[in-house]
Symmetry: C2
Subunit: 478 residues, 2 copies
């Protein structure tokens, strides 16, 4: 049984929950806590340390979401088994700030809904975002100032990788918020993830065999298809992509969303991450593409570190975007290349000029480096958390008929039917009540789900709309 002695410092610069989290994490990493070992219950640890139980709850939830421990119903918390051992970046946890933020996914607008004849009252699109919190005033002021000072230099063509200042700002931001280790040299700025993937194809060359998660972000799948890449779909389990499959398949690239998988919401635990990295290390030409699309929106605990942060062998191609965290119209994404691929980029792709205007780059640089981005994210996290909690509350009556998953992060939840009603039956019934919902099968690239799963996005709806929409869904489904 676990020794509950933890030295807590009430006046330190770390809050109690962080101290507990870090202590246990350290014990696991140092092998003092072994796989399968049971942790004390949150109640007993809280009593022992004379602190609130919710503080321990938070620490455990964080350890759980990062894959260090797992909860077994009616039995308690246990240390997870780990693939041995890729050295984690040593002070990663410490470098991750509570002001966790990240770039948002370049998600497909729901184009079909535009064409739809039905006039929906409420649209639970998983891609909806809330622009009402966007600091238009600040953005306008920055734009105005930049144009006032603008000289012809700003209108001349800039560096192919993007302007150095913005690349430096992004490097710092990614390090502090996501633990990403890179230099500005490794960063390539481009107009959207789609473009950066196109550029990556040119760097990696044609006919690369790629593995993708199933279900996955559909547009990425379409893009890899358009590259004529042979695609292997790998099913997900509750820890993410089944990494064991990779060794058996003849693939050299895997596209994953470890911090918050779309659409399942799965956070890949550290054990699985290590398996993936181990696979990548097993071949000279193997790489992982980490699409870190919306990890800034977590509503409980600390941020989940990026996979790139755990990568010590230069195997992760990290991609992020400002489209979700700022606005879809801001066409700015970034890609962090491992050194070896950077050399390939310089050799064979240096002539592709940057796709983002220098003026836009300058505006964004100022928006981030002056602290507006962080403030905006904090504000949005609070707004989205409120919507998330409200939707969860509204979902209570649905629990008899559905299993709810994907909570505590992102901008949508998932409802999986307990019976065998078909997905389209739910969607049709919702539509008849004026509500647009989305099926998981939109994101499936192979196979058919046993039980229907519906995605309920809440980002683009107002609180009142969530309540009213859910009332209509109650009528439709219960």
């Amino acid at each position: 049984m676990y020794d509950m002695t933890i030295q807590l410092h009430a006046d330190g610069d770390k809050c109690l929950y962080e101290q507990i989290y870090e202590h246990i994490r350290q014990e696991i990493k140092e092998g003092k806590l072994l796989a399968g070992e049971r942790l004390p219950s949150t109640r007993s640890l809280a009593e022992y340390l004379q602190i609130s139980r919710s503080t321990v709850d938070y620490a455990y939830a964080q350890l759980q979401s990062e894959g260090y421990i797992e909860a077994r119903p009616y039995r308690g918390y246990f240390v997870c088994p780990m693939e041995d051992l890729l050295q984690m970046e040593s002070n990663l946890g410490a470098s991750l700030q509570m002001n966790m933020c990240d770039a948002g996914a370049d998600l497909d607008e729901d184009k079909s809904s535009k064409k739809d004849a039905v006039n929906y009252l409420y649209d639970f699109s998983p891609n909806g975002i809330d622009m009402s919190g966007f600091p238009f005033g600040v953005w306008k002021r920055i734009t105005k100032n930049i144009l006032t000072d603008a000289n012809s230099e700003l209108f001349s063509q800039g560096e192919a990788q993007g302007d150095y200042d913005l690349r430096l700002t992004i490097t710092r931001y990614l390090h502090s918020s996501r633990g990403v280790n890179c230099t500005p040299d490794q960063v390539i700025i481009g107009a959207g993830n789609d473009y950066l993937l196109m550029l990556l194809e040119k760097i990696l060359g044609p006919q690369v065999k790629i593995a993708i998660e199933n279900p996955t972000y559909k547009r990425a799948y379409q893009i890899f298809q358009s590259f004529a890449y042979p695609i292997t779909t790998v099913d997900m389990d509750e820890n993410g992509m089944k990494a064991g499959r990779l060794e058996k398949e003849d693939v050299s690239l895997a596209y994953v969303m470890p911090s918050h998988q779309f659409p399942t919401g799965v956070v890949m635990p550290i054990g699985r991450r290590r398996e993936l990295l181990k696979w990548a290390n097993g071949g000279e030409e193997r790489y992982l593409i980490e699409d870190d699309y919306d990890s800034e929106f977590r509503y409980r605990g600390k941020p989940i570190p990026s996979l790139q942060a755990s990568d010590t062998h230069d195997k992760v191609i990290y991609i992020g975007t400002f489209s979700k965290a700022i606005a879809p119209a801001i066409r700015v994404s970034y890609m962090v290349l491992p050194e070896k691929l950077l050399a390939a980029y310089r050799r064979s792709c240096h002539f592709y000029s940057c796709t983002v205007s220098r003026i836009d780059q300058r505006i964004l640089n100022e928006f981030i480096s002056e602290g507006y981005f962080e403030r905006h994210l904090n504000k949005m996290r609070k707004i989205y958390r409120g919507k998330h909690d409200l939707l969860l509350e509204c979902l209570r009556p649905f629990e008899k008929k559905f299993t709810i998953s994907g909570e505590h992060a992102g901008l949508h939840l998932l409802l999986t039917a307990k019976d065998y009603t078909q997905e389209k039956t739910f969607i049709r019934a919702a539509a008849q009540n004026g509500v647009k919902v989305y099926g998981l099968s939109d994101s499936l690239v192979a196979g058919v789900p046993e039980n229907a799963t519906i995605l309920l996005g809440f980002g683009g709806l107002k609180n009142q709309e969530i309540i009213e929409g859910m009332n209509l869904l109650k009528k439709a489904w219960l």
Copy 2:
């Protein structure tokens, strides 16, 4: 001998020169003037019509630059032979306005010069442009107004092809200035030509065999190389790409710059254009890419119509950009797809989201539709014409040793050595005098030129700099 009777209308809405030009062009098209027939001398026609000789000069120069007639030294003007006959769009000439304007090439910044240890006093880069004439004030005001009225809609993701309003504006502009026939549906807006070519690769599929002009715009060559397209280089003659070669080669795509070839400055005459179109019509899968990169800067006569304007079989993929005509930092280009390729785009590439921010699209739309773009072009044409004429004047002493070509359009001239001095010898001698010049071999993708050719760009230099730079070149070379 040609019947000189031309009905001139002094009070018509067309100037005399236009009336002469159109009359003769019509006679050629209708077969009343046959290939090889001699035109009256400019002097005799002017006397006959009782007008100024320079008016006739202009009309002839225009007919010549469009390939209807040719000048034979000491003999006069003769009607050119034509490939028979693809029906030209009937009222094309009429639809082309004198306020001719077009988008500028996405030319490579001269990166090597940045790294160069030499500190040049004067840089005759063919890619230099003059930003001093840019209406920063107008641009700022439009930006400010758009942001003031901005609602969250503007920050949401727009249509994949680009916003309809801008596509409509571009359609109108291309029709009036370049005779391009298309609907807004056929227009795709993207962040630079490089990106649009990447997208085109996805539309056309991999492994398309392409023919390019030699010499050509080097970055396009590099891009096609990065597509792993098998590339056939086709030499230029004084009329452009030797179209006869295409039938002999196993290619289905040809990349050409008919209105003002880079770097040679060749304007492809109508006969050669028809040969190209005829070749394209000979195969279901054959297409021509027309890169219409800087045709807005012509200093004599009427604009050269686009190749797309003569295309009646949907065989021309038309690409243009605002990078040269407005500013390199404005990352907006456009591609006009033939209907068949538009269908392929919709089938297999609709999911690629637009790479230009909606705010930038809106600014540009206003800049064009409010008439600022046209005014800007007219102003820049005047500024560049002044520099062009000055450089020509400065080149007089060089005529003993060099042949000058590429005049009357674009932003550079070419000097071809009459002796066999090597290109690098000229470049080195210039560098020793503090002047940076560029060799044609930078643009050659195959072969070695018999005589050294130097490109002298004047766009980025002030008048005084042109004079001083040319004085130094005189010291270096004469």
